[in-house]
Symmetry: C2
Subunit: 348 residues, 2 copies
DNA sequence: CCGGAGTGATAATTCGCATTATCAACGGTT
DNA sequence: AACCGTTGATAATGCGAATTATCACTCCGG
């Protein structure tokens, strides 16, 4: 009658071994010291009793008694495991899983969060966030208010992707798009190009601003880049490019670049002979007429691993020492030169 | 670390609302009855105090007190989120995520389980299984002892994939490979075939036995199927097929079928003209010379959804009534006729 | 032979929450 | 005025493991 059938507790073990529950706990945790002394004979007796039963420590009780629960939360603003989102989330989740394995942590996915307008709500009536020791946040765009609230509530978390739009000091791990853009721009200049157009959706995110800043930086150099914010209608693009006498088009991401290529192709332009193309973003899995796109390769797995490492650090560091930790980290990524950024004039 | 800075407990809420911890608990759980009476005014006061704080019930404490957590465990014997395993796990995980959303549950991935010989261990010194209300088990092949132990410990769980190899009554949701095989065999007969070979690894799993049984059933019909267990070396296959005068080869899975096709192709056989090919397994994503393989399409998402529904049912049903629940469920899948099973003689 | 040091182990308490048993105050009846 | 049911709330307890405070006993030196 000691609880549910099939449930073996320390008390039960203690009864069998003829000792107290305290002793069992001590043996299990290998405690020893001036105040705690258990002779090997007794230790053995307890160990045997444990091995002959199916005893497993109840994690809930351990947790309640004040041990770390070793659960890391994973919050995604959209469903993360759909075939469509796998493209973006897949490598990240893979990195997270591996990092969690390394840290000996379990992962809690907050699939219970209510969905509003296609996005999950982080904070709501019964937020379960605090089930975890800390949380990783994933998503193309996250809610600034959420981030601020997390900061003020001193809940350990790390955002994946650069997040410094708010005043609050948001811990994140992201990619240094600025540096990558610089390299790609330099490469284009090297290939003889002098004028380019940067096609972008006019979104206001830190990474978008990073790219724009890098584009603006190019001003003083050999390659002049004209930014061009566009909507869904790209029909004005050929004219714009002709007007700017551009021989290169940079696009904010690979999808946009594909749209651009479509429009330019229809306008009769030779691609990439007359106009080179490159995306200022991940290009894996994208091609233009069989040619691998020029753009970036981002170490998504590494980002995830770094994010979890940072999270773990925040969790194990008392809040008053958080100043000691570098909480905003940029990783360096890699430029994928690809085959759509070619020498001016069309030669490879 | 228990003394987390921002930890809000019921006691704290009680202090703010000027009531007792008991009352807070009652309000939170909407308890009411002849013995428990709390006027709406008090209820409101408590609710406001809760909303103004960041209170979240401690799942460990809830569990210890004998309640549900709305946490469903997900255990995979291998890493589930690697690019390679995505092929198999992806659709399942997608289904699980969606089902969990529907049930309002969070998902706990047991990434902390120690890995031995490439496989995760379910039971170990600090099994955290019991943090979840119940658990879904995924994996091509799982440990029979694990399953038995879960049964005897009366921990709610559901295996994905048929598992009736053990004596214990293991709850599972699987695919009826027998019925699918019957259909495919009938189709081959319809196409004029009279002799076939079934190539399989000699593994002993329930689904493997299902297929073999179906193959044996074919004996009495118009299509005679000869089973052939093979290892890594398939070089004897062309001779075997010639000897049996077979015009169809069934293979245990799509990968094996591809290997078979390679060997037969090298032997100069016209595929599928001379010999038709079909896999008794999922063929999505596999092709033979641009032709979609003949075989099965399995409703993996649906399996996952069904598994979670069953799990939820087991959790909410007291153990003594488990007899009431249909705990072993087979889903029907779909035959993919494809283009590699063609009429005898080569005509489509 | 008394007191301190050392040994081996346990009772008591804590964690946060749910539940059971209990209680004080009030209002109406006889 | 004594009695009793109702209302509103709380003290006490349990869950399983970890930790702290204690205790009983032996051994040894002075």
């Amino acid at each position: 009658m000691t609880g549910k059938p099939g449930k073996v507790t320390q008390r039960e073990i203690a009864r069998i071994a003829g000792v107290s529950q305290t002793t069992v706990s001590m043996v299990l945790n290998d405690r020893d010291g001036s105040n705690i002394r258990i002779p090997d004979a007794t230790r053995e007796r307890v160990r045997r009793a444990i091995e002959q039963s199916t005893y497993v420590a109840d994690p809930a009780a351990r947790r309640l008694a004040g041990l770390d629960n070793k659960i890391l939360g994973v919050f995604t603003y959209e469903s993360a495991l759909t075939p469509e989102s796998m493209d973006f989330y897949g490598p990240l989740l893979n990195g997270i899983e591996r990092a969690a394995e390394g840290l000996g942590c379990d992962l809690l996915f907050f699939t219970s969060s209510p969905v509003e307008e296609g996005r999950r709500r982080l904070f709501h009536r019964n937020t379960r966030l605090r089930l975890a020791d800390g949380c990783v946040l994933l998503g193309q765009q996250m809610d600034g208010d959420d981030l601020e609230r997390l900061v003020t509530e001193q809940f350990p978390f790390v955002a994946v992707g650069r997040r410094d739009e708010t005043d609050a000091h948001v811990p994140y791990v992201g990619i240094d798009y600025g540096a990558l853009t610089d390299v790609l721009v330099a490469r284009a200049a090297e290939l003889g190009h002098e004028r380019a157009v940067y096609v972008h959706r006019d979104r206001d995110s830190p990474t978008a601003r990073d790219r724009l800043a890098a584009v603006a930086r190019a001003e003083g150099g050999p390659l002049h880049v004209t930014p061009a914010a566009v909507g869904d209608d790209l029909s004005g693009l050929p004219g714009l490019i002709a007007g700017a006498a551009a021989t290169v088009v940079f696009a904010e991401d690979a999808f946009l670049l594909e749209d651009v290529a479509l429009v330019l192709g229809e306008a009769g332009l030779d691609l990439p002979g007359a106009v080179s193309l490159a995306a200022l973003a991940e290009v894996r899995g994208h091609r233009l007429n069989e040619r691998p796109l020029s753009g970036f390769h981002l170490p998504r797995q590494q980002i995830a691993a770094e994010a979890l490492a940072l999270l773990q650090q925040l969790i194990s560091t008392p809040p008053e020492e958080h100043g000691t930790v570098a909480t905003q980290r940029l990783l360096q990524g890699e430029v994928a030169f690809g085959d759509t950024l070619v020498a001016r004039g069309g030669a490879r």
